[in-house]
């Protein structure tokens, strides 16, 4: 695992991360989870874990923690095709009739168009013929079946999982020709919801106000047909830039510009995101963007009066952190330190953008933080309010620091409204409000939504 702790300017000069063999991580999900949640959020794809059942158990733990309450993903099946050690050792990958019969019933209920086999480490490491297993599943269940070539050991963060999952979905479409239309795909939303009060609903509504058509959402709540329809869009825009495989660059060669790379957070970040999409679609929407921003301007300014100069710590993944930095810089808070949960290939460039274009300054920057890093940061700096992953609540409680969890999705943090929502939350935390119900469940606030007359 590659990590960094030190000055931001030095990091940006060299982007030199060092190996950390003792990572007390609290936020990373690993490649299997990232791949799983792409498939599980889709209506007609059925993921199957192959090999060790332990992976299914802990993936379900994570999944429920990340989506059960808000998005009801907990009841979706995560099937396991289990192979114990004695079978793996002799290469016996026979599938039992009992398992096939069970799967047939599940297929009848879920009606998947695609089954994705997800190998666990023992299978990838022993060079198991996954194509052979996929072929047998396909023949027995008469459902198209594919497999991933990655497992937990393939990466120290989500990246390879997202990339592998996106490839599994897009590879069959890459050789085909599609008529293009002036629409954009929203990439990086994992959940079935399209509710207005969720981030995806806020993004769709914002684009609709500006007359921009959304072709498909990648991939939560979508179907394989939606994935195919996405090939007709002229651009891909990131709702959460963490979900970005190299595949998105390859899709540019298929006429889908990668626009709005950084998530639409803050006034500055949202404006950039929307202008970038407008440019990719050859639409001049700058006036409309200004009108939209004006709806929230007075509340934003009122929040800014309170927040300006407040000492803040902020952390997030490669998508959200950049967005939160946009928001914090818009509010002119004094960022003491920041942490990036995990670096993806765009992180260096995104942080450079924030440094060069938005004058990002802070005292200390961490890549791939551990709980012990947070502890030190909390002791070292005087922090008025802390924004971070939900489990950073423990550090904040221990040090009596007001805390705003950023990994809770029920009030949008995106768009101009999201900037106001985040500002409201920071002020509430400063005034003593606790956003943590318990170690699993957050308390939320009413969202701020305005519409043009």
């Amino acid at each position: 695992m590659r990590s960094y702790r030190g000055s931001l300017t030095e990091l940006l000069e060299e982007w030199k991360l060092t190996d950390n063999p003792f990572w007390a991580d609290y936020q990373i999900l690993g490649p299997m989870f990232s791949a799983l949640r792409i498939f599980l959020g889709m209506d007609d794809v059925l993921p199957v874990i192959v090999g060790s059942k332990g992976c299914a158990i802990h993936l379900r733990f994570s999944l429920i923690a990340w989506g059960e309450e808000d998005f009801d993903l907990g009841k979706r099946p995560i099937s396991v095709l289990e192979y114990p050690l004695d079978k793996i050792v002799v290469g016996d990958y026979q599938i039992t009739t009992a398992w096939i019969e069970k799967m047939k019933k599940l297929v009848e209920i879920r009606k998947p168009r695609l089954i994705v086999l997800m190998p666990t480490d023992p299978l990838t490491l022993s060079g198991t013929d996954m194509a052979g297993i996929a072929n047998e599943v396909n023949t027995s269940l008469e459902v198209e079946t594919t497999f991933l070539s990655i497992s937990a050991i393939s990466g120290a963060n989500q990246w390879v999982g997202y990339d592998a999952a996106l490839r599994a979905l897009y590879q069959p479409l890459m050789g085909k020709k599609y008529a293009k239309r002036n629409a954009v795909n929203l990439v990086g939303w994992m959940w079935p919801s399209r509710r207005r009060t969720h981030e995806i609903g806020a993004c769709i509504d914002m684009l609709k106000t500006l007359g921009i058509e959304v072709a498909s959402i990648i991939s939560g709540g979508s179907s394989l047909k939606d994935i195919e329809n996405s090939m007709e869009a002229k651009a891909n825009a990131m709702v959460c830039a963490a979900l970005a495989g190299d595949l998105l660059h390859e899709l540019e060669e298929h006429g889908m510009k990668l626009a709005g790379r950084r998530s639409p957070y803050g006034f500055s970040g949202t404006t950039e995101w929307l202008e970038d999409i407008g440019q990719a679609l050859d639409m001049d929407i700058k006036d409309q963007i200004r009108q939209l921003a004006l709806l929230y301007e007075s509340q934003f300014q009122a929040n800014k009066e309170i927040l300006r100069g407040k000492k803040v710590f902020v952390s997030g993944g490669p998508g959200r952190l950049i967005g939160l930095l946009h928001t914090m810089l818009d509010y002119e808070v004094d960022i003491q330190a920041a942490a990036l949960f995990w670096p993806h290939p765009w992180s260096h460039q995104d942080l450079l953008h924030m440094f060069e274009e938005h004058d990002l300054k802070l005292k200390e920057f961490i890549v791939s933080p551990s709980l012990y890093d947070l502890e030190e940061i909390a002791g070292k700096y005087e922090i008025d309010v802390w924004m971070g992953g939900y489990q950073e609540q423990h550090t904040c409680k221990a040090h009596g620091i007001p805390f705003v969890p950023i990994t809770v999705y029920t009030v949008p943090h995106v768009g101009f409204e999201g900037a106001v929502n985040l500002g409201n939350k920071l002020i509430m935390a400063l005034n003593g409000y606790s956003f943590t119900e318990d170690v699993f469940n957050a308390k939320e606030i009413e969202p701020c939504i305005h519409r043009q007359q």
Binding site: N20, I28, P31, I57, S79, P84, M103, I153, G155
Partner: protein, 400 residues
Amino acid sequence: MHSSSTMRFQGRLEPFKGCGILGGLQGTIGIKGALPIIHGPVSCSAGYRMVPLFADREPLVPTTALTDPDLIMGSQKRLLHSLDKAWEIYRPTLITVITTCAVSISGEDFQAIAREFTQQTGCPVLIIDGSGIAGEESHGYKSMYYEVRKLLESKDDAILPEKVCLDGLSLTDFAVENMHHQISSLLKENLGLSCGPSLFLDFDLTRDRVAYNQSRSLLLGHLWTEGHNWQPAPYGIAGTFVWLKWVCQELGLALPQRAEGLYMAARRILARYDLLKITKNLRVAIEADGWLGIGLSRFFEQELSVPVMLSTDQAGYAYHKEDPFAHACYEDVGGSELFLFCEDFQANLVFGSSNVRSDQWDYIPFTPPIWHGKEERHSFMGYEGAFELLDLLSRRLDHN
């Protein structure tokens, strides 16, 4: 005596129980100042870092974060660096290195590293095989138990006959405080026994050592299959009395008259309940480890004549296979598959994890994972617990 089945449930799609990593963590979290290190890919720690949260602890589950190249080069040196850093930062009382599937495939040895590290620092290191292809969740816990027992061994401490330790529970068990309280009360009131420190319930390796060694262990919970006579948890009136007799047998005690008197008193109270009314049309589904699941199912089936569907672990399934009583018993089925089984069974009262929580039936949280912190934490053990459950069923009836 029952023998544990080694056969896996090949027709099952979604498991209820995890791999040995989970068991290893359940043990480690219950020792003061102990630190787990997951030696393997980050996924194996990431998913299970929810486990400390079950005990309301910080999700401190560090990992060596192995990737493919680390395995090719050999992971021993990496583990040593990890131990050194763990010591430098946390000064733990004990380190549990929990190995994973990837590492078990590589066949590397880590005992020598552990010994060397302990010699240098004085901090004991346990190597626990957490690999899911080699063992079950319960194996991880049992390995932890026997390894920690070795650390505590002493020939100098004289046994105090009135002291027992409740071994086999974990801070991560749902409602463990109530469970421990109800069992301790049962032992005190019926048999005059008092409870000493329990391993894995905030156990202090230094402070609790002597008291632990002076007590006799009762093997419960995760360890209920480690003795000669497997005895499920004390649920119900008859079930509790049978359990008390088992305790006496295990400890070589005669059953005191007081215990018989309390049993008869409990029966008299039970007779005041309108059981036919309370249990009419009731169909119960239970998702639980064998010790809990068998005990609670028996209460419903044999004392209340309520049909039960049970999904349990390997040991519970093996126990039930030898002496079947439930309407249906499944081995290690969980998740949405179990949810469908509950629907098919037409259950109207379900005990289990959040995976089977639904508006379709009355739900009683019973088994981790429980994601809803506000849920009431009942354990329903002993005579008191049985009446607590019956009162709850009565209120349910009034409500419906």
